[in-house]
Amino acid sequence: MTKTTFAYVTYIRTTPERLWEALTTPDFIRQYWFGATAESDWKAGSPWTLKMADGSLADAGEILEAVPGSRLVIKWRNEWKPEFKAEGFALCTMEIEPVADVDVPAVKLSITHSIDRADSGFIGAVSSGWPRILSNLKSLLETGSIVLNPVKPKG
């Protein structure tokens, strides 16, 4: 095994166009990414960054493929933790497919994140974050609000 990969899938009752917009609009991304957001002009060859809620740089890379409503491939490297940065670039592929034979329009969103090294700490870290982000994204698109607000009891 020379690769670390995870592959997550969720079904969302929305259209490919709306989902694409949700994946590429910084203000919308912020709502389901726990305050962080991604910026790019979302064209192949363009730079891509992911900034934390306080504006500091978390990850950076390049858009490798961008087919609106269908496919987004990002070359993705962590910039925040030296040991993760040292692992080099990972590849994140997001695929949108319309679901056939359902009453309400729905799409299948598949996210694959992989890196060419065994037991990657970076992939381990992002893989634990994606399910919460995807759940938020699903709720936001289906109901207009998110379920998971960060719980931060004060005191």
């Binding site: 095994m1 670390t4 997550y8 995807l134």
Partner: protein, 127 residues
């Protein structure tokens, strides 16, 4: 139960788990079996395994493992990818997150809030 079994079979037969997307009955049925939970644990330990690799961890016939994987796939708990001639299985924890939000977090929050208020009251010496 029979109806649910038939539904599961229909999903398995359709080979397109999409027709069964987000079905909570399928999801709970999928995690109701110890062998299937074991499969999820094995995938959690190391993702992207072939059927042969998964069989090594379970004392059961290859055909049974295939059946269990089919059910997990129908419930969207396992996703697969082709790599050449091999089919790799990945754990998809997204539906589990949905269960957490729907069935755990909702009931947990009022309790956490109550504890938080108690702590504040005690620490501020309010009556």
């Amino acid at each position: 139960m029979i109806a649910l079994d038939m539904q599961v079979n229909a999903c398995l037969l359709s080979t397109q788990s999409q027709t069964c997307m987000n079905d909570p009955d399928l999801l709970f049925k999928a995690i109701a079996d110890p062998s299937r939970r074991k499969l999820l644990d094995v995938l959690h330990e190391h993702d992207g395994r072939t059927l042969a690799e998964l069989c090594e961890h379970l004392a059961m016939a290859r055909q049974s493992v295939t059946q269990h994987l089919g059910l997990l796939e129908a419930a969207n708990l396992v996703t697969t990818q082709r790599r050449g001639r091999e089919k790799l299985h990945f754990l998809n924890p997204v539906p589990l997150q949905d269960i957490y939000e729907r069935w755990i977090r909702k009931f947990e929050e009022p309790r956490l809030r109550a504890l938080h208020q108690l702590k504040r009251r005690l620490e501020s010496h309010e009556p």
